[in-house]
Subunit: 457 residues, 2 copies
């Protein structure tokens, strides 16, 4: 920490808003990057955030906003400057069942928001692996996705309004739960997914939904991805918005997770789908309807859960994939999406290309097939973990070229951060990048907001 | 038409892309504004649009994009320049049930898109009064709303990707049906709702849904708006996404429409709600469930439809309100929204204020209560129609001040156009308007795109 900078912030912040040390904030979740900020601030109020931003604009000091520090792309890593941790701005400001909305501060943990909604007999649907520690501000800054985007959309779709402190310290606040509002260019969507490069999100008004009262959960074994896509289309056409999750798991990914979890594999197959229906109405017949539907369409290599324990075991198999693959060493991860109709073509072409370039490479492929979104993790068994990143560019190039060939995206739900921004010119045109830079220059003329993140150099 | 300009476009367009006259394109739907363009172009291809834009940028010629000419705020009115009508770009380019998406050109009529989706056994949900003539490009440019936003969102929520010709003639095209994609600032949402001021939308990829197979429709009489909001909250908590429409109608609006439609009023009450549930699954019991639910909660002054004819009659009563009120003369219309929980407070305060300022003023109040979105139309019985607009500013000021006091918006689903842009500084901060103008300046440095629209002077 720089003593002089600490002293200067002490002039207008309270002592406990300035941290002497906070090692848990400095190493990122994947233990890949270590921050070295000049000072760590944990403001207790929006006014403090405004005061920090005014000061930093005046003195051209970089500011790196941080939430739960669960990001996977290094967007909250600080090299110098102010690491601005929002954890203390964590109030639930309001819940309204009439408006189906909840207004929360940026530092509220996702699970805390889910629980506040449940206490009002409503659902806040965003759900993802780190929900016990990730924060709403980070979810918005990265446009988080997760397990039920199929039904409820990504974080972008769940935000009714934002409160943002701009780099100059001024406040934009639109927290009224308006479901229709068309008054000029929609700036809210610029901040969503901007990874802290345009301002500091301090609060948001989010959509709430009715809580599901009925669930039906099935695990289906399939010979290939084409069959999984066919099943998805049939289920969507028939059960419509009841389909909440449609997760794809490869044989290899399931083998790893079953061993790690000490659970039986539900069925034997090359590819697997975990699908779940839900309904806000009590509907005892839903599991039987799903069973009959699968049988009628020939998906007989499947199991329906009969109890909450069975359901929990299936979800454990899905959720333990990430942890179980760590035994393989360091992975080069890909957070990608293609149109659903192209997933099979992508997987069919990419795996042989990787194996040709890196004989023996192992691929853990799983993800949210309902959104065309895959976690495509690669491991080089003969390479020591610390050396794996040396191969990252070459592996990425093969994977991303195959993604682009299928009209896909190199960043589905984890953001860009510092590990993908050099790829942005491949997926955005020069006119688009020029427009992004103009937006950035207008709001942040001194370039102090999260420098080096998201935008290409 | 300016002969010289016509000749200059004839150098690179085919003769039938240049119209000698087109009176139906020159008067707006409300017969309030008359366009006087220098030339009317109807390009047959995206390449023609690009050529027009390149030429107009080079020669600083204003371009006014136009779709079905059904806008209500004058956004497609031309004073000089090129009136660029997109009607001929009306192909359905692709439908994919696997991706739940449809790719259509800007000039496709909304109803044509609904029909193309239905032919693939899917639903394109946007539905509004002018669906037989309004076009997708205009729906996107104005972020159209309508009857089932409650369930499916506004046009903004339905757009997966856009193809846009920028003012300099370059093309941005993102038409792949990606359900997750977070690669830099979301520029798509800048174009949606930008009313033709940033570029020319030429095509879009839109979301499709399963088609409803079951409906239940009820008309409920209520003593006050508070009771209607209470009913909404109960229905949403219980029936969840099955609730597709929740329309509010005042006694006065219903009286007008019933007389005009030669239909009986379903029930007698101060306020009325037309609500409709739908379900993609066949579900014979749904109408009975709704009836039982209304009875159990004490909403006994209600009717459930027993046949398609009865349902159609109820919707006719709702849809004829606009036509029936024309007998009152010229209306000063307001397309407004407040949080659902504030609708009653707004209506309760605004009507007395208007009556105090304009004794005898008549108010036709109806709209989409489920979204907090109202059509609030006012008539001065003792003023000749042609003179009504002289009172517009004073009436608007009263209505909009009451809207702002309730945290509402002055533009819910019709846009800003040329009739509301002087109000924008009341609902957007100086920083926001500066950012909008910076975006505009970056994309359209010569200010040729739909000048004078949307942004304040």
């Amino acid at each position: 920490m720089k003593t002089d900078l600490t002293a200067r912030f002490a002039a207008f912040l309270s002592p406990d808003e300035i941290l002497a040390e906070a090692p848990e904030l400095l190493t990122d979740q994947r233990k890949r990057f270590v921050s070295a900020p000049d000072v760590i601030l944990k403001p207790k109020s929006v006014e403090s955030v405004q005061a920090v931003m005014r000061y930093c604009t005046q003195h051209h000091i970089p500011v790196i906003p941080q939430g739960g520090n669960t990001g996977l792309c290094g967007a909250a890593v600080a090299e110098g400057g102010v690491l601005l941790n929002l954890s203390r701005l964590n109030r639930i400001r309001a819940v309204s069942t009439a408006d189906n909305s909840i207004t929360v501060e940026a530092g509220a943990v996702l699970q805390q928001v889910q629980e506040a909604a449940a206490a009002a007999d409503r659902l806040f649907p965003l759900s993802l692996a780190s929900e016990g520690s990730c924060q709403i501000g980070g979810n918005i800054a990265c446009n988080a996705g997760g397990l039920n985007v199929l039904r409820y959309g990504t974080m972008r779709d769940l935000v009714l309004g934002l409160e943002v402190v701009l780099p100059d310290g001024s406040l934009i606040s639109h927290l009224q739960p308006l479901h229709k509002n068309t008054t000029g260019y929609d700036l809210r969507h610029l901040f969503i997914g901007s990874e802290g490069t345009l301002g500091v999100i301090t609060a948001a008004t989010l959509k709430l939904f009715a809580r599901p009262k009925t669930r039906a959960t099935a695990w289906v074994g399939l010979p290939d991805i084409e069959a999984a896509v066919g099943l998805l289309s049939l289920v969507q056409g028939h059960f419509a918005e009841r389909l909440e999750s449609f997760e794809l798991v490869s044989r290899f990914a399931l083998d790893l997770s079953a061993a790690f979890s000490r659970l039986q594999k539900p069925v034997d197959a090359e590819w697997h789908v975990l699908l779940e229906l839900s309904d806000a109405l009590p509907h005892d017949g839903l599991p039987d309807m799903l069973a009959e539907f699968l049988y009628r369409h020939g998906f007989e290599n499947s199991v329906l859960t009969q109890s909450e324990q069975e359901r929990s075991d299936l979800w454990t198999l899905r959720e333990h994939i990430s942890a179980s693959q760590r035994s393989l060493g360091t992975s080069i991860k890909h957070d990608i999406a293609v149109p659903v109709s192209r997933v099979a073509a992508f997987v069919g072409a990419c795996a042989p290309a990787l194996q040709a370039a890196f004989p023996g490479i192992e691929i853990v492929c799983f993800g949210h097939l309902g959104d065309g979104s895959l976690h495509y993790n690669t491991f080089l068994p003969h390479v020591l973990s610390n050396d794996a990143y040396a191969y990252e560019d070459k592996i990425n190039t093969i994977v991303y070229e195959h993604i682009l060939a299928q009209g896909g995206t190199i960043a589905a739900e984890h953001g860009i951060g510092i590990i993908k921004n050099h790829w942005l010119p491949r997926v955005r045109s020069p006119e688009e990048i020029a427009l992004m830079k103009a937006v950035k220059a207008q709001l942040d003329p001194h370039g102090i907001m999260n420098p080096g993140k998201l935008l290409p150099a």
